[in-house]
Structure formats: structure tokens, C-alpha cells
């Protein structure tokens, strides 16, 4: 029995390490100053998929990412970590997609993949923090969903059991397959597996990357078919173009402002006894404390 898992992953700017040069003078984001990384919670999702692959027979882990051509890096990193294959969904037509247009495009790509038993993705991406794409894909595919997953505990007889981490507690739920699961950052981190996978997949590339390579690898990509990363555009998926990109995005950005806080004139104090005592005295006198 084959069991096909699709992992949805996104390449994101590392918004957690925003330096001073991350914003341009005009208030727009300087993407070049932010390193592109594997969205952290998507790595948690990949880990859940890889654990199932280690536990069960016949599991294929296929990583799907939508983004510019350089997002192939996400698929390569997934291969290093133990995924079986991957696909980059790329094209001008996808530009300007909000979460809804993104989920439409992803759902069209997943449909093309044939029998899919389980879709896993991170709860949310750090560049938008919306947590919308997972559930929106599930709805587009008519699948049930389990969000905020911390651990996929069991897969038996066409059902999946998942432990969820909520704001104020935990839930263990069971539902039918196929299912879409979004994974929380509190789930197990994606630990590196075999270093030899990195060697094996070092030259994995999409067709356009293979063309751009300066070195001629001869028939490497025909003799080692696993090195081929799929690259799909709008021509490869069945879709209606009005639901893609800008026209498929109901939300519009009216305005973007960089955040500036009004500075106060602050009083500078030292940790000396006298300074702290004066401050505490003042706070007690004006009834801020006590």
C-alpha cells in the first residue's frame, strides 16, 4: 500500500532577525537585506511527515512550494532532510497572490498529484503570520482539517489521530483520511538525518536550474532521475486564471506604513541606591504603586 504525503513549505524572509537596514528610507521592505529561509513551522511539518515515513511502509514524502525559481532551495533542503521528491510552483501569473489565491494555486497543484492521503504544512509563515493558507487549501480540496497539531500520534485503518496544542490546553482528535494537518512550532524540530543524503541530492535541480548550470553534467539527470526537482507553471495545472494572482485575491493593500513610535523624554537613572530610592519614593507618592 502506498501512502502519499504532501508537505506544503514556503521560503520566507527571516523576519525574526530584522536588522537596521531591513527597511528602506521610503518605508518599504528591503528584501535583499533579509536572508531567505525555510519557514520554521513548515520544518516542524516536514518532521511529522518524515516520522511517518520511518514508522510506516510505502510512504512517499513530496514537498510542494510556491514561489520564485529560487524557492527550489526549499525542495533541496527537504531532500537533504529525507523527503523523496518535490515540486516548485512558479510563474508570473502567481505574483500578487493573497492567501486565498495562494491556496487556490496550491490546491490545483495538489489535485494534479493524484492520490494524496495526507497534506501537512506549518501552522503559519513568519512573513505574514496569518495561519490561513492551510485551512483555505483544505476547504478548496473539500478535505477536513486538523490545525495546531503538535504530534501525529497514529495512522490506522484510514484514520489519523493527532494531538493539538491550543492556547489553554491540549486536545487529542481523530478523523478520516485524506486530511490536512497544520503543525505548530511546539512540535518536534526537524532533526538532520543522514549526512549522505546531502551528498546524494547535492545536484538536485529544477529543469531551469539545470539549463543555467555552467558545468555540463552530461546525462546525469537521466541516469539519476531522483535529482530532478519538478517545476510547474500555470500550464501544468488545471485552473481558471481569474482565481490566480491579483485577480484571485479579494484583499487589497491600501497602504503600508513603517512603524515609528513617538519618543518620550526619558529620565536617566543609575543603579545607585539613591537613584532607585528616589524613583520608588516618587512612584509611591504619585500612587503608581502602593
Amino acid at each position: 500500500m502506498s501512502f502519499n504525503i504532501v508537505v506544503l513549505a514556503k521560503q520566507v524572509p527571516d523576519t525574526r532577525n530584522v536588522g537596521k537596514d531591513a527597511m528602506k528610507a521610503d518605508g518599504t521592505v528591503n528584501r535583499a537585506a533579509l536572508p531567505a529561509i525555510f519557514n520554521p513551522e513548515d520544518l516542524n511539518a516536514l518532521e511529522q511527515a518524515l516520522r511517518l515515513k520511518e514508522k510506516m511502509k510505502g510512504v512517499t514524502v513530496n514537498v510542494l512550494t510556491m514561489g520564485p525559481a529560487r524557492a527550489a532551495e526549499i525542495v533541496r533542503e527537504s531532500l537533504y532532510r529525507g523527503a523523496d521528491c518535490g515540486c516548485v510552483l512558479s510563474g508570473r501569473e502567481f505574483a500578487g497572490s493573497d492567501t486565498l489565491a495562494t491556496s487556490y494555486a496550491l490546491s490545483c497543484a495538489i489535485r494534479k498529484m493524484g492520490k494524496v492521503d495526507l497534506i501537512v504544512c506549518g501552522r503559519q509563515a513568519i512573513d505574514g503570520d496569518t495561519a490561513q493558507v492551510g485551512p483555505q487549501v483544505a476547504e478548496k480540496l473539500g478535505l477536513p482539517q486538523i490545525t495546531y497539531a503538535e504530534e501525529i500520534q497514529q495512522i490506522t485503518d484510514g484514520t489519523i489521530t493527532v494531538k493539538r496544542r491550543l492556547e489553554r490546553g491540549v486536545e487529542v482528535v481523530k478523523g478520516p483520511l485524506p486530511m490536512l494537518v497544520t503543525v505548530n512550532g511546539s512540535a518536534a524540530p526537524c532533526r538532520p538525518r543522514h549526512a549522505k543524503l546531502t551528498v546524494k541530492y547535492k545536484r538536485a535541480a529544477t529543469p531551469s536550474e539545470q539549463q543555467e548550470k555552467d558545468v555540463d553534467y552530461g546525462n546525469l539527470y537521466t541516469t539519476c532521475p531522483y535529482l530532478n526537482i519538478n517545476e510547474w507553471g500555470t500550464g501544468d495545472i488545471e485552473h481558471e486564471s481569474k482565481w490566480l494572482g491579483l485577480s484571485g485575491s479579494p484583499t487589497k493593500v491600501k497602504q503600508i506604513e513603517s512603524v515609528v513610535f513617538a519618543a518620550k523624554e526619558s529620565k536617566k537613572l543609575s543603579p545607585a541606591d539613591s537613584d532607585i530610592e528616589d524613583l520608588m519614593k516618587e512612584l509611591i507618592v504619585n500612587h503608581t504603586i502602593g
Binding site: 521592505v29 496569518t130 492556547e167 478520516p176 484583499t251 487589497k252 512612584l283
Partner: protein
């Protein structure tokens, strides 16, 4: 028709704070738009909800009572809202940016092809000009939210699609009773007209939900720690100070990520928004996303060994020193001189 809908999040037959905060905001938006405020509750034993929510200015309360609707699962609540929205055609729909609202909202928006903006920090009414199409839209919902790790604030609109949907975190909006005797009407929904049996596919095997132990929102004094606190032992000093002053302990995202504090103590755009009368920031550098969640504090004291920490620019008092040195002195002086 074309009213404002708030989805009420129900736990044990009571609507949660986040829903009451949304009703307060929804009421003021409805007044501006001259439309009605409607609320929908799905669950079981909902007889107390009316008494609880009408004072917030709810004109119509829809009750979908079915034992299978509690606790929340995705598909039945999605079907209920999708079908109810198709029938009532609200112009705006609001829900909490909680594990329920963030599970439900995207599904509903995907089914209705309506735009959804997550984690809004402000909601306003205004016009929008689409210059390319040469069209002006009046009275749209401005959905204002931080993006890019809080470095920018974006105003999002949904010109064409309805309802305009938004989620808001707990504690971001203020909760305020409009009128204790506000008169609204209750409508019981026949659940079978909205939800199909096939929607009940998820079985809840175990469930442990705890009442929140931390109440940052109503704490008058907050002693908050950042990554700079350094160790759990030093964080203990913050608890001691908060305890002596009668306050609560908060934390920055960096401190929570480093495991120094629980997530429920997190203050900022991805945590709770607070407005205490005194905020003592300990070892917090002051990333924008943190400052956005506490800048309305009446008084801010920053204790930081770095004299150039960004948070110092918005603090009333800046103490350049270490937590270990400063906090014990504050505790000692307060114990000696209060009362």
C-alpha cells in the same frame, strides 16, 4: 440585511472575552455604518448567552444549539457560518484570532471567496479609491495589521467581496458594556438546515482546557522580562517584584522563545496587548512587535544594561543597570516604605 456579524466563541455555555471585545468594536462600527450588530453562537446549553451579550449592543442573536456543536470542530461550524452568511449577506464578519477563529475564519473565507485579514490591531471605516479601475468604494472596513515581524503596518481592504472578514486577538480591543438593558431579539436556528451529518467527522478523544492563570489584561502593574533577563533564576526576581507590588509578570517573545516564560505571558503583537498604569521592562530590547503591545502603558520604566536599547526611547525612566542589581533594591525599598 448587510449587517455586522460577530462569531461568538463559546466555552461551557459562556462567550469568551475576545468575543465580547469584538461585540464592543462591532457595535461602534455598526453605529458608524448605521446597520445592525448580529451575533451567532453555536454550541450546546446556550440559554445564558443572550443575557450575557445583549448589553454589548447586539440586535440579533442567532443560536445554533446542538450537542454535537460543542466542543468546537472545524467542519460543522464552517457549514453553519457559510450557509448563514449566504442567507443573511453580512457586510462585515468578525471573529477572535484564537485557535478557534484562526481555524474557522480561513475555511469560511475560502468557501465564500471573501477576503480575510488575520490578527488586526485596528478596524476602521473609510473609503478606498482603486485608481487603476477608476472606482471609489465607500465605507469599507479598513483592516489594519502589522506585517513583516511588526516592522510595517498595512491597511487592507476588500473592495468587492463580502463579507469583509477579520480576526482580532484577545485583549487588543476594549470590552465595554453599551447598555445593561439593551433590547435585542433571539433567533433559534434549525441546525439541520445549515449543517449536514457528514460534517461531523472529527472525534474528540481527549480534551484538557485550563482556565487562564495569568491575567495580564487587567493587571495594573506589569513586570515584564526579555531575553536580557538571561536565566530562570533572574526571572524569579521579576516574580518577586511583581508579587510585592501586586502586579503580574509578562514577557517578550524572545523570552518566551528562549523558554524563560510561558506563552500566555507574552506581550506584543503576537501576544497580549496591555495598558497598565506601570510597566517595568526588564532586559527587554524593545522590538517593534513588543512595543506595539505595551506602548499605551501610563508609565514605563526600562531596566537594561544597554543604554541604547530601543525601548529606552519610549520609557519615562531608564535605569542603566542589571536586573540582579536593580530589582532587589526596588523590593527592599518598597518593603521598607510602603504603608
Amino acid at each position: 440585511m448587510n449587517n455586522i456579524f460577530v462569531y461568538l466563541e463559546i466555552e461551557d455555555g459562556i462567550a469568551g472575552d475576545v468575543s465580547l471585545e469584538l461585540l464592543t468594536k462591532g457595535r461602534s462600527l455598526a453605529d458608524q455604518l448605521n446597520c445592525k450588530l448580529e451575533a451567532v453562537a453555536a454550541g450546546h446549553h446556550l440559554d445564558k448567552i443572550g443575557k450575557q451579550v445583549f448589553p454589548y449592543g447586539v440586535d440579533t442573536l442567532y443560536l445554533a444549539d446542538d450537542k454535537r456543536l460543542a466542543p468546537y470542530t472545524s467542519l460543522p461550524h464552517t457549514s453553519l457560518l457559510v450557509n448563514l452568511f449566504k442567507e443573511k449577506k453580512p457586510q462585515i464578519a468578525l471573529m477572535g484570532a484564537t485557535s478557534v477563529g484562526r481555524d474557522l475564519g480561513p475555511r469560511v473565507s475560502s468557501a465564500l471567496f471573501s477576503g480575510l485579514t488575520a490578527d488586526c490591531t485596528s478596524l476602521e471605516i473609510g473609503n478606498y479609491q482603486d485608481k487603476k479601475a477608476g472606482k471609489t468604494y465607500e465605507n469599507l472596513l479598513y483592516q489594519i495589521r502589522p506585517a513583516f515581524g511588526g516592522n510595517i503596518v498595512a491597511t487592507i481592504v476588500n473592495p468587492e467581496c463580502r463579507p469583509q472578514m477579520a480576526t482580532v486577538r484577545e485583549g487588543v480591543m476594549k470590552k465595554e458594556i453599551k447598555d445593561e438593558n439593551y433590547k435585542g431579539e433571539t433567533q433559534q436556528l434549525d441546525v439541520s438546515n445549515y449543517v449536514s451529518d457528514a460534517d461531523f467527522v472529527i472525534e474528540i478523544i481527549e480534551r484538557h482546557i485550563e482556565k487562564s492563570k495569568v491575567n495580564l489584561k487587567s493587571a495594573p502593574i506589569i513586570v515584564s522580562g526579555g531575553y536580557g533577563v538571561g536565566s530562570p533564576e533572574n526571572f524569579q526576581l521579576l516574580y518577586e517584584l511583581a508579587n510585592v507590588l501586586g502586579g503580574e509578570v509578562g514577557a517578550s517573545r524572545a523570552a518566551v522563545d528562549a523558554g524563560l516564560a510561558d506563552h500566555e505571558r507574552q506581550i506584543g503583537q503576537t501576544g497580549t496587548t496591555v495598558r497598565p498604569k506601570l510597566y517595568i521592562a526588564c532586559g527587554i530590547s524593545g522590538q517593534i512587535q513588543h512595543i506595539a503591545g505595551m506602548q499605551e502603558s501610563a508609565m514605563i520604566i526600562s531596566i537594561n544594561s544597554d543604554p541604547n536599547a530601543p525601548i529606552n526611547t519610549i520609557a519615562n525612566y531608564v535605569i542603566t543597570g542589571t536586573i540582579e542589581e536593580v530589582i532587589p533594591k526596588m523590593i527592599k525599598y518598597y518593603k521598607k516604605n510602603s504603608k
